[in-house]
Symmetry: C2
Subunit: 186 residues, 2 copies
Amino acid sequence: MYKNLYIALLHYPVYNKRGDVVTTAVTNLDIHDISRAARTYGVKGFYIITPIEQQQAFVERILHHWQKGYGVTYNPSRKQAFDIVRLESTLEDTILAISKETGDRVNVVFTSAASHKKHLTCEDLKEKMSENKDPFLIVFGTGWGIAEEAIEKADFFVEPIRGNSDYNHLSVRSAAAITLDRLCGQ
Amino acid sequence: MYKNLYIALLHYPVYNKRGDVVTTAVTNLDIHDISRAARTYGVKGFYIITPIEQQQAFVERILHHWQKGYGVTYNPSRKQAFDIVRLESTLEDTILAISKETGDRVNVVFTSAASHKKHLTCEDLKEKMSENKDPFLIVFGTGWGIAEEAIEKADFFVEPIRGNSDYNHLSVRSAAAITLDRLCGQ
């Protein structure tokens, strides 16, 4: 088990359908599904990244419900998943927060539905993680994917998830679950 | 690529939180996420199973929107995913429909978050599928899992998905995505 893994769901800067750089809205179910998968695979922190204050307030309301409100007694296992969820305004702030927490340089890995010329396979990345004690942050984009302007933040790119068909449109929830299983599954 | 794979999402008979046998409500996002994952991994048919007429009408309305309504032009890739979605009232009807379509006996595989004493690993199941030309139907439960009374329909049980922690509460959407990747991923 790799002990120093973080993931993030990026809501800005990402593309919309037309290729404009936008901030997407946070989706309640993304927080639920991805935190449960992250908790299952031993992820230390799952960052929701959005610069919009109203959206941050929305995330905080959801977190409060499941961490401290009625949700705690209604579904205690959901609390366990939500305990690893954190909120940041930007990818920079997220990297800084992890760096402060661990005292180490953060290896930032971008995921994408499209091939990047220098991408690692999941096997490559798994090996790199096992050789390296520094933290890794796997970043998942929302909307139509992480915008080019964020790319300088990436140390590595991981291969897109392909099934065995020509269809390449998984939800980010499914992509995150499969990526975690490939990297951390037994 | 295994050519004869079907999956089903069962809404009855399943358990609720207290262990009563109930019919769960169909969730819009289950249809979206699981159909996209199924289409990615070359699944031939994804069956939504519910005996409740109002719920069937709800599913038909969603399918119509993405297969024939505004959704077709709004998001053509969603249409491709929805093209493999089908609706049946019971697990028996689903097995019968697949048997009629293929002319063969259907191998029914139950998934569960709990261990079954005679379960196959995903590797075992993958091997069995590659040796066997008859169709396989992988059944995913909703709510708190498939009720005991349906168990006589199962030919095989597949291992629960474990990460690398003590936490065992994946969403059915994540569990379906990971199962398909383990069975059909490259």
